[in-house]
Symmetry: C2
Subunit: 135 residues, 2 copies
DNA sequence: TATAAAAATGTAATCGCTACAAAAGTATAA
DNA sequence: TTATACTTTTGTAGCGATTACATTTTTATA
């Protein structure tokens, strides 16, 4: 995604009041490319924001989702990850090192088959396998 | 997928003892094309198998997954669905009627971008939008 | 500075799923 | 058949992620 230079402005532009917690959560999402879980975000940020509540992280992510600046990454059925890159791209999860890689998708190469005429709002592609390092 | 004519044989072929409960769960998965949740399977089957336990449904699906005859459909982050069609295909979920449609994918049309050289074990594509009926 | 509104926090409750032990069913050998 | 071991099913208890909700804190406004 295009780098967000000024988080405060970016949130305002998306109709979100830039509170301290919201800015820190968004900053965490954009600076790390690890598609973190709620728990990961909470555990990292509480190191620097000792009063942070997990509920705040949940509330914040819910708001970000509603405003469309964050998407969910559903790769495993027992963990929900979040991604501040809302542009079309795929996710690859290595079954060995558990790393998640982003990869580009050429929109014109997507094969919508018999649902061509449906109205398409979101496209999600994820792949599991073994990455180059672990092969 | 190619229709499973004889469930008992199909399970045996996949190294699964065809108990009554297992056959009924598998039959439900193949006869309905609704990609059911555990709860849906349980609630439907208990009408005819009054002693059925939800744990059995969980155990059975876990076994089917391990043996590779069932895959998970992760479209929503708060519900896990199951699919007895393990061949490559996409899922479309209508945001209005909530129906899930299968659609064919041409494997050669998948754009693996910069992860071409990774070892690919599973490919999942799902799309959200509005179906023809609801447009 | 007072008041109202918004956001953050902490606790309790809910729900899906799993762990585990007991009961029921199945296969095997004498 | 009967005894024994093994597998499967069942029910209960427990765990962990998420949500609901009331309270506290912060921010905005008059």
């Amino acid at each position: 995604m295009t780098k967000v230079e000024n988080i405060s402005e970016y949130l305002l532009k998306n109709d979100i009041k830039p509170s301290y917690q919201r800015m820190r959560v968004f900053e965490y999402l954009t600076s790390k490319q690890n598609h973190p879980t709620v728990d990961k975000i909470y555990k990292e940020l509480i190191k620097e924001i000792p009063t942070l509540s997990k509920t705040t992280v949940y509330n914040t992510l819910k708001l970000f989702m509603e405003k469309g600046i964050v998407t969910v990454v559903n790769i495993e059925d027992n963990e929900v990850r979040y991604d501040a890159d809302t542009s079309l791209h795929g996710h690859f999860k290595c079954e060995k090192c558990e790393e998640i890689y982003d990869f580009k998708i050429n929109p014109s190469n997507i094969d919508y088959g018999e649902i061509k005429n449906f109205k398409i709002n979101e496209t999600h592609l994820y792949i599991k396998g073994v990455c180059d390092k672990c092969k």
